[in-house]
Amino acid sequence: MQSDTERQELRREIKDAAARRDAAATVAGARRLLAASSKPADVMFCATAFAGVADALREQLGARRLKTYVVRSVTVEPMLPALAVEAVLANYVLDLEVGGYGSYADELLNSDSSLEKFKPDLVLILLDMEEIAGRLPEMCADGIGAEVEREIEECVGRMAQLLRSYRAGGTARILLQGLVVPDCTSLGDVGEANLPHSLTKAVQGLNQRLAALCGTISDCVFFDVDRLAARHGRARWRDARMFFASRLAVAADSFRDYARGLVRTFATMYRAPRKVLCTDLDNTLWGGVLGEDGPEGIATGSAFPGNYYLEYQKYLKQLSSRGILLAIVSKNNEDDVREAFNVRAADLALNLESFVALKINWNEKADSIRELARELSLGLDSFVFVDDNAVECEAVRQQLPEVVVVEAPAAEPWRLVEVLSEQPFFDAAVVTGDDMHRAEEYRAQARRAELASSMGSRDEFLASLAIVCSFQSALDAPLARAVQLLAKTNQFNLTTRRRSAAEVEEFAAAAGGQAVVVRVRDRFGDAGVVGLALARRQGDACYIDSLLLSCRVIGRGIESALLAYVGEEAARAGAKRLVGEFIATKKNAPCAGFYSAHGFSRFVPSEERSSESVFYEFDLTSSAITSPKWITLEGNER
């Protein structure tokens, strides 16, 4: 802990930075202060400083503002500064409103409640045991509890009714907090562990059921506060003194951990996980330096100390099995590395095929990562780079600020997995089938590239791919995949509107509206659901609200096929004009000419909309948009 003078010095720096509206410096100062001291007063100090620069945070750092309503049955107010601070550190500015203690049901059920009037982007539902399952402690007291199962069923049913009722009218994203397993019970630890219906088991069962419930509600995520409490110690999580005196459910010492858990959980509804992990080899993937120690000399395998590294390899393998792509970025001789993977195959949890790309050379690592991004058609903001060398890490940090750099603790290799898992960048509340097949799809991409280079013309190449596009409702995509595409597609995205699941449902349900996805396969494999369009009917025109395509399939005419499909559907529904909209962002320049290239002409709508939008129209009565001849279409026969 630093001295009080240093603390005062840091506070002054933060105050100065906030006074001159320097958002980055305010945040950097706060990070340093909070790393050294998490006393409530420091957290509150930072919260006040951040509140003063809320606009600057949004303008200068692109922080996302979230109108956040807290539905609660416990006292949360003293924790709100910590919540606001952790949110800013994750680049969100929360505009907070707190509901009444006893009115949570009314707020969720009643369409003119204070919750509805606030028009939140995010609703945090923080209820305690008494409200969710008040009868459980008594019913579980004998550990046999014949009624427990039915009670859990009823509790889940009540919560389902609240969530569904809110969802029917409200579009805000929802975080539902689970229950903390009570630390002290009359059965004691042994009874809790051995009796079939102890409170511990009942609460754990209830949490599982609530998590499953959240999975059935669009834009809803479950917050497992018990897991968090257990990590930090359930005995310390709650301060019984303050709980009884003020209904404070979390001890002041745990505010920051709690707030961080809340932010990390709701952030998964706003941010897509990163897609690629680039790992260094020497003293990261294995111990020692291959060039010096030779393949036999490097440390890896089940024996100590190789097992540190085996653990990291297993962790990477697990990431890869849910769709995180692995790549090697290492300064080494490629032949030596191939030999090492060959000779030490039995001691490695990964083989060279586990990686979608190898950048093993003597080039600058930042250049290698840039190359990788190009080859995989992914933005640099999808990358994570892990290396033990502080100089390499700093070079990448400076040259590629979008890349997250994780410095492997070389002196404490046992901590690498912990350091990685503390970071939120691979967090996902949903894993889709498309995620799991991604690595395969990228390998198919490489084979396509080989074929392309052996073919004469582009058309000939595209025809040889035998592309099949099939169209279906975004609601059956499944919906989670549609929302995932909306959340993370940047390059080929005409309007970059991050629509929620509830909004997609609205497009699908509206008369003359469309919410359609395209699934693509070719002779090399099934790319899955890769594109989406949302459109709404307005007068005699059909307006395309969103149209996007995953960057890994751009350039094969699929975007044209999707547009043609939307046009055809609009004409079928009686629309006379198809209206396209383009909103320029830092990343979507490649699709600026999309509508013009498809025969649309510029026009200014009579009622002037957002000034950043450029509109295009296409007359559906005289012609149709043509789909490329090399693409076979499915799903639009009716």
Binding site: K39, A41, T48, P81, M242, F244, S246
Partner: protein, 82 residues
């Protein structure tokens, strides 16, 4: 009385919580005289003071500690060297 009678650390802390300048933190400052000193800020102040000085107040005393002078006296009673 002036703010000089309140130790600097307590003054800074209460100023942050009630969003006032540290000059305004005098012994007489109380829940009754300051609008921003509501029941939630009171709880925040109590938790912040506990964290700052490593003490735990008796919950039954908490509702009574509604002025700077009373907070200060309670801390002294608990043996905190201010």
């Amino acid at each position: 009385m002036s703010n000089e009678q309140v130790p600097a650390s307590l003054r800074e802390l209460l100023a942050d919580i009630f969003e006032i300048s540290s000059e305004q933190v005098t012994p007489e400052l109380s829940m009754g005289t300051l609008d921003s000193w509501d029941s939630f800020r009171h709880l925040q102040a109590i938790l912040a003071i506990e964290g700052e000085y490593g003490v735990q107040f008796d919950p039954q005393r908490i509702p009574e500690l509604t002025s700077v002078a009373r907070l200060q006296a309670e801390l002294v009673k608990m043996g905190v060297a201010l």
